[in-house]
């Protein structure tokens, strides 16, 4: 039955509500978070298997038939994203057990994480464009509070920039939704896809496509709209950074993948060429920004921007292989990037600082951590046999197939610069001895809490390695998802049930 589509939303909602009931009892909240995210991950995997077996699943909320009611739609792309949400949520909940400070927990850290996951899953599963806006806002509100929780100066400043630019994006998105409704009289995405095809106003459609591109572009942090990201992502605790880095920008990428394959696929010559150019610029500016930084998490934040370029490069090329490589890249990136932020948190607890100039000696102090850093770092740069290599190989092959040599050249050189930047972190934080006079300003660690933090890092690292070694099944899955995206007819038929 189709309850599986609703469960990834119900579980975090119930877990958030339950942990609000245990407001003062932090130990209960922690374990509720682990159980809730674990349950979400299990349900998401079941959903993915069912979608793979039976095709697109649709739930009409309140039994109102589409296009009048709101629908929840789980196609392959949605269910892959929901699985990744559950995975990152679970890893972050485990990591938070030992690391989140008591004053964060006292102000509702765990319920907020659950609500953030609820918003992210809702955005992945909805089939209604106004509902997508609402889920964006659920996710944003939770992320605003998580970002500012703790109240250090840098956090508050970063939060102001993050809040302002994201609210601006929401206003643009809402305006586009309003005009879309005025043009077509529907908000259901499948219905929109049909009705826009029948409308004779290509100019207005392209204007709307651009409005949505800007709105989702701000959320996905593409060039030149990414400035809020490196200003805010390095300020909250490592667990929150990892959650944001793994999931939030990817919701923007998902929205672009969905809207520009389902609704605005008529004028691909213009829109998708523009997206491809933006992809190249995003890669270059992101990696150059990272090279200029000397702080662990700022380098990682700029690399998020750079990697977003690879994800939308596949959308810009707009062939089945390219889209599949994009989806594969999203899978790889979410796991690797969240993992790097988790590693940065442990590194800071051991060596005392995120500043590379004031840290060092991690290779001799914590050789296990050094290995666990190298796996995602080399994967991010695209070293075989890790997951990043396959993702980039797919994109480069797809680029060469359609003769887009310049974007392939950009992608490969950015990849080389990424390796340089990861080598810088390795050299500074791990290889060189700890500078004289660097005192740790973090709370002293006991072996138990280090072990607790290493569990999710090891889990994500193992997944990275196994995606690299057993890439074929995952890539087949991504190919199937891409074929579904390029055949919007299936999606439309699943939602509207064959009606015109």
């Amino acid at each position: 039955m189709n309850e599986l589509v609703v469960l990834p939303l119900v579980i975090p909602l119930v877990a958030a509500g339950a942990s609000l009931l245990f407001w003062g009892r932090r130990r209960v909240q922690r374990w509720l978070a682990v159980i809730g995210t674990g349950g979400q991950l299990a349900v998401a995997i079941a959903l993915l298997l069912q979608v793979r077996a039976e095709g697109i699943l649709v739930v009409e909320v309140g039994n109102w038939p589409a296009p009048f009611g709101i629908v929840l739609v789980a196609d392959l792309l949605s269910s892959i994203m929901v699985v990744l949400t559950g995975l990152i949520g679970f890893a972050v909940a485990l990591y938070s057990l030992g690391t989140v400070e008591a004053r964060h927990e006292a102000f509702g850290y765990f319920p907020l994480v659950q609500i953030l996951l609820l918003g992210v899953c809702g955005a992945f599963l909805t089939g209604d464009i106004f509902n997508l806006y609402v889920w964006f806002e659920v996710m944003l509100i939770a992320s605003f509070v998580l970002l500012a929780l703790g109240g250090r100066r840098s956090q508050i400043e970063g939060a102001l920039k993050y809040v302002t630019l994201n609210l601006l994006a929401s206003v643009l998105f809402l305006s586009a939704v309003g005009v879309l409704y005025g043009m077509t009289g529907t908000l259901n995405m499948a219905d929109l896809a049909i009705r826009l095809d029948a409308l004779p106003s290509p100019g207005l459609q392209t204007a709307l496509a651009m409005l949505l591109l800007v709105a989702f572009g701000i959320k996905a942090a593409i060039f030149p709209l990414f400035f809020w990201l490196p200003a805010s992502y390095h300020t909250p605790p490592a667990a929150v950074s990892a959650l944001f880095a793994g999931l939030l920008t990817k919701v923007g990428v998902y929205a672009m993948l969905r809207v520009f394959t389902l609704i605005f696929d008529n004028d691909a010559g213009f829109t998708h060429t523009l997206i491809l150019a933006l992809a190249g610029l995003t890669m270059i500016t992101g990696v150059l920004g990272a090279l200029a930084q000397q702080e662990f998490r700022r380098i990682l934040s700029f690399h998020i921007v750079s990697q977003i370029g690879y994800m939308i490069m596949g959308l810009g090329l707009f062939t089945p292989l390219a889209l599949a490589a994009s989806i594969f890249y999203v899978i790889h990136h979410i796991i690797v990037k969240a993992n790097l932020f988790l590693v940065s948190g442990v590194a800071r607890r051991i060596s005392g600082s995120y500043e590379l100039s004031r840290s060092g000696g991690l290779y001799s102090d914590a050789p296990g951590l050094a290995v666990l850093f190298l796996i995602p770092a080399l994967s991010l740069a695209g070293m075989p046999p890790l997951s990043g290599f396959l993702a980039k190989l797919g994109l480069v092959t797809a680029g060469l197939d359609v003769g887009a040599y310049w974007i392939v050249a950009v992608a490969l050189s950015v990849s080389l610069l990424t390796l340089w930047s990861m080598a810088k972190i390795w050299q500074e934080a791990f290889w060189k001895p700890l500078p004289e006079g660097s005192a740790t300003d973090a709370a002293p660690l006991n072996a138990w809490s280090v072990r607790q933090m290493l569990v999710p890092i090891t889990m994500l690292g193992a997944i990275t390695v196994s995606i690299g070694l057993l890439g074929q099944p995952i890539f087949d899955l991504a190919l199937d998802a891409a074929e579904q995206l390029l055949e919007p007819g299936h999606y439309i038929e699943a939602v509207l049930g064959g009606r015109p």
């Binding site: 605003f144 109240g151 508050i156 102001l160 302002t164 609210l167 200003a231 702080e295």
Partner: protein, 121 residues
């Protein structure tokens, strides 16, 4: 009527963007309010202005008697107003915290997160 509302919407967008770009951070909140109003008014206008009756099905009828007003844009706007209200309250508290922590309302002073050499305290 559409023309007047279109001009008002455009004016609100322009005023909102201009206000956000000012250096004083409290004006960011005011700008966000104006932009929210502009978006709501845009939805309202784009979904056609009508003087038809309310879309209520009479007790003894099965279907709606046309022409009737479209209720959906109003539901959408109501949702958007509620959301922007919640978000605005958070933004106001945040701006007050920025003023308390940084001690200024000048957006140009808020550079802690952008300078590469700065220390996150």
């Amino acid at each position: 009527m559409e023309l007047i509302l279109a001009v008002v919407t455009g004016g609100l967008f322009a005023a909102g963007l201009y206000t956000i770009l000012r250096r004083s951070i409290i004006r960011i909140a005011i700008g966000l309010v104006l932009l929210g109003h502009a978006a709501n008014l845009l939805i309202f206008t784009a979904a056609r202005l009508t003087r038809y009756r309310a879309p209520i099905i009479a007790g003894d009828a099965d279907t709606l008697v046309q022409p009737a007003a479209d209720p959906l844009p109003q539901a959408v706007i109501l949702t958007a107003i509620v959301i922007s209200f919640g978000v605005l309250v958070f933004a106001l508290v945040l701006i007050r915290r920025v003023y308390q922590v940084v001690g200024t309302d000048d957006a140009d002073e808020l550079t802690t997160t952008d300078r590469p050499e700065s220390q996150a305290k």
